[in-house]
């Protein structure tokens, strides 16, 4: 008989983040799970799993730290004060969503280690904020 297991990366981590973002932003900030950059509209995010570290595997529960990047893209063709304000407003809203909504589940603990801001020609006019995340989850 095959071992029963949960797809922890997908179900416990990434879909929880997608669901939390959907609760706050509805369809205005689609979150995709992808390895590569793909242009998806005016505003979107790409969630990418990088690695996981075991916390303790000697109990009946499996505890891991999952390291992910959450890349937020916002198209900014106007390039003015208002669009910069809007960009940072969305970044703060995402940050608050991570801390307020996603930790409702006591088994789900999230830390935003850092956010890097980039703005480069290769992003086709997008401003980009890369969230470096660590999710501690027990299953």
């Amino acid at each position: 008989m095959a071992t029963a297991s949960t797809n922890a990366w997908k179900v416990n981590v990434e879909e929880t983040i997608q669901s939390g973002m959907k609760s706050e932003f509805f369809s205005s900030l689609p979150v995709f799970r992808s390895r590569d950059f793909q242009q998806r509209g005016n505003q979107f995010a790409i969630l990418r799993g990088n690695s996981s570290d075991p916390q303790n595997t000697m109990y009946s529960l499996v505890a891991n730290s999952y390291n992910l990047s959450f890349e937020f893209f916002m198209s900014d063709l106007k390039r003015n004060d208002i669009s910069i304000k809007k960009f940072f407003n969305q970044v703060s809203r995402v940050e608050e969503t991570f801390y307020s909504l996603l930790e409702i589940d006591p088994l789900f603990n999230i830390t935003i280690n850092s956010i890097d801001y980039e703005d480069d020609e290769e992003f086709k006019g997008y401003r980009k904020a890369t969230f470096d995340l660590t999710v501690r989850n027990v299953r």
């Binding site: 669901s19 939390g20 959907k22 609760s23 706050e24 390039r79 004060d81 910069i84 304000k85 940072f88 407003n89 970044v91 703060s92 809203r93 940050e95 608050e96 969503t97 801390y99 307020s100 909504l101 930790e103 409702i104 589940d105 830390t111 935003i112 280690n113 850092s114 956010i115 890097d116 801001y117 703005d119 401003r127």
Partner: protein, 169 residues
């Protein structure tokens, strides 16, 4: 229900910094926000954050250090001592302003250290001298906390749209 939040980087970090500098220079030094240098007047100051790093996470708050980069640009058609002196003078003045306003008063931010300064950095603007000033800013944000509403049969309340039903803690 949408969460309540502050536009931390813009309203709590960038605006107070810009206002302090505008008050000091009174229009003699245009200050603007952008990720790229622009040609604005004879001299200008561009402000933009590079990154933020978590310093401490508490039960209901988090403290981040925001690395703010400022590019001071002065136009000059030749590399003369007069322009150089003006650049040094203005950069020192900016440094002094940061030192004297290291606490945010009603806004809970403060500069975590004195700025790092690099002179004569490369830029796309022709005939200009540029100094880069980088200052770390600490800010603590208190966030909301919610809990799931657990039913007697150990389920969670979930709305029809698939969103969490959330109740204030």
């Amino acid at each position: 229900m949408a969460i309540s939040y502050n536009n931390i980087t813009y309203d709590k970090i960038m605006i107070p910094l810009r206002d302090k500098l505008r008050t000091e220079f009174k229009g003699a030094l245009p200050v603007y926000f952008d990720s790229k240098d622009k040609e604005v007047g004879n001299k200008s100051l561009r402000i933009y954050p590079n990154s933020q790093t978590l310093q401490d996470k508490r039960t209901k708050s988090y403290i981040n250090s925001y690395e703010i980069e400022m590019n001071y640009v002065i136009n000059t058609y030749r590399s003369n001592e007069k322009a150089l002196d003006e650049m040094y003078k203005d950069v020192t003045r900016i440094e002094t302003i940061l030192h004297q306003n290291s606490n945010g008063g009603s806004i809970p931010y403060f500069y975590a250290g004195m700025p790092t300064i690099e002179h004569n950095i490369d830029t796309d603007i022709p005939n200009a001298m540029v100094s880069k000033i980088t200052v770390p800013v600490l800010y603590e944000e208190v966030h909301e906390r919610f809990v799931r509403f657990v039913t007697s049969n150990d389920n969670f309340f979930v709305t029809s749209s698939g969103s969490f039903y959330i109740v204030r803690n």
